[in-house]
């Protein structure tokens, strides 16, 4: 108990104790003479330290003037150390939003086209599939040669055509995803150069 309190005497002296700890030390001090003596001696040390006179220093005005002559041009890299601006930080957020938008779109069209080809949505939605389910080329060919082909061949060709359309749309989707990812990576690369690269670039320059 006494040793615990001794360790807190400096904090007590500096006004750094609060609440129950402060009360504890105060209580202990009323009953422990050795701690009271030690506190008095510590206070004497503090007072004697603060009583030490200060010599004359160069006046602030002259010091600042002398210093101004020695200030180097601030290196450019130091000016870059400021944190990136808000738009800078929002860029990946916008990109991620875009990413989610594209993903949702892909998901919706996939579900929709599956539902349509399965006939789940019924006749009322057939107008959507009208343009989406066959290419112009297919419609053109069917108009020209449709009469000469059997129904089985027609439906096989139609299925093939739908597959090609689906593939095309997938490639389109991948293209957009790749663009978004590329932009994001670009952002990451620039961010890295602006933070980590700072410590890295001067070394390269010196080498």
């Amino acid at each position: 108990m006494h040793e615990d309190m001794r360790a807190l005497l400096n904090a007590y002296l500096d006004g750094e104790l609060h609440g129950w700890r402060l009360l504890e030390v105060q209580n202990h001090l009323t009953s422990c003479e050795s701690c009271r003596n030690e506190l008095r001696e510590l206070r004497a040390v503090s007072d004697l330290l603060r009583a030490a006179p200060l010599p004359e220093f160069t006046p602030a005005e002259r010091f600042a003037a002398n210093l101004a002559l020695r200030l180097p041009r601030r290196p450019l890299k130091a000016q870059l150390q400021r944190g990136p601006s808000l738009t800078w930080w929002l860029a990946p957020l916008a990109l991620m939003g875009l990413w989610f938008f594209v993903q949702t779109l892909i998901w919706l069209t996939t579900v929709l086209s599956l539902a349509l080809s399965g006939g789940l949505l019924g006749e009322s939605f057939s107008w959507i599939s009208g343009s989406a389910a066959q290419s112009n080329l297919f419609a053109f060919l069917m108009n020209l040669f449709g009469g000469h082909l059997g129904t089985a061949t027609q439906s096989t060709l139609s299925l093939l055509d739908r597959l090609v359309l689906f593939g095309n749309s997938l490639i389109n989707q991948w293209f957009w995803q790749a663009i978004v990812a590329l932009l994001y990576w670009l952002w990451m690369a620039v961010w890295w150069l602006r933070t980590r690269g700072r410590a890295f670039l001067p070394r390269l320059a010196r080498a």
């Binding site: 750094e16 001696e41 040390v45 602030a60 005005e61 600042a64 180097p72 601030r74 150390q81």
Partner: protein, 192 residues
């Protein structure tokens, strides 16, 4: 009201200086020079060394100012730089020559009442003992006694846990207390 205004203009000066405005930086130097040079003087104990360290500190501050968060406490940030600059200046100096303890000890002894003389002796004794403390505990004690920082501020200036601040301060003040005690013992023996 007046305080808010001071803080405001200081913030403006910091932001201008961060953009490279030398006049704004000069104004910040004039404002903080005194507290910085006092703290480094207590670290070094010599006017010339202290002014060298202060100059070094402000030069470093100028170079690193763009990375300073303008709303943080500039004085404490300067203290952090200044304490390190003082230690560097001292290390450089101790490489060139060894401090002459005698010249520091025998200073002008003005005749006066005995009590004042003893107190003056004690003050000088403690300044010497302070300079002989290990760097780590000396920095904490100087920031506490002369920088008048709270334990929390000292912890953040020196980048150490608050528990370490307390233990270093305990060590430093107890060490000085012992110096004072053994000095008193010597005086008694001399009189006996």
């Amino acid at each position: 009201m007046a305080l808010v205004k001071t803080v405001d203009t200081e913030l403006g000066l910091i932001e201008q200086a961060q953009q490279g405005d030398r006049n704004a930086f000069g104004e910040l130097v004039r404002r903080h020079y005194e507290s910085v040079v006092h703290v480094v003087y207590r670290m070094c104990g010599e006017v010339q060394l202290a002014e060298d360290a202060a100059q070094e500190a402000f030069l470093r501050a100028w170079i690193n100012l763009p990375s300073f968060e303008p709303r943080a406490n500039l004085r404490n940030w300067l203290y952090r730089i200044a304490v390190n600059a003082a230690l560097d200046v001292l290390r450089r100096k101790s490489e060139t020559f060894v401090e002459d303890e005698e010249t520091l000890m025998v200073s002008d002894q003005m005749p006066g009442p005995e009590e004042t003389l003893i107190r003056k002796e004690q003050v000088e004794l403690l300044q010497r003992a302070l300079r002989n403390l290990p760097e780590a505990s000396r920095s904490v004690l100087v920031l506490r006694e002369y920088g008048e920082l709270s334990y929390q501020e000292i912890a953040s200036v020196l980048d150490i846990p608050i528990g370490t601040v307390m233990s270093r301060l305990n060590y430093a003040r107890n060490r000085l207390r012992e110096v004072l005690q053994s000095h008193a013992q010597e005086m008694e023996n001399a009189h006996a």
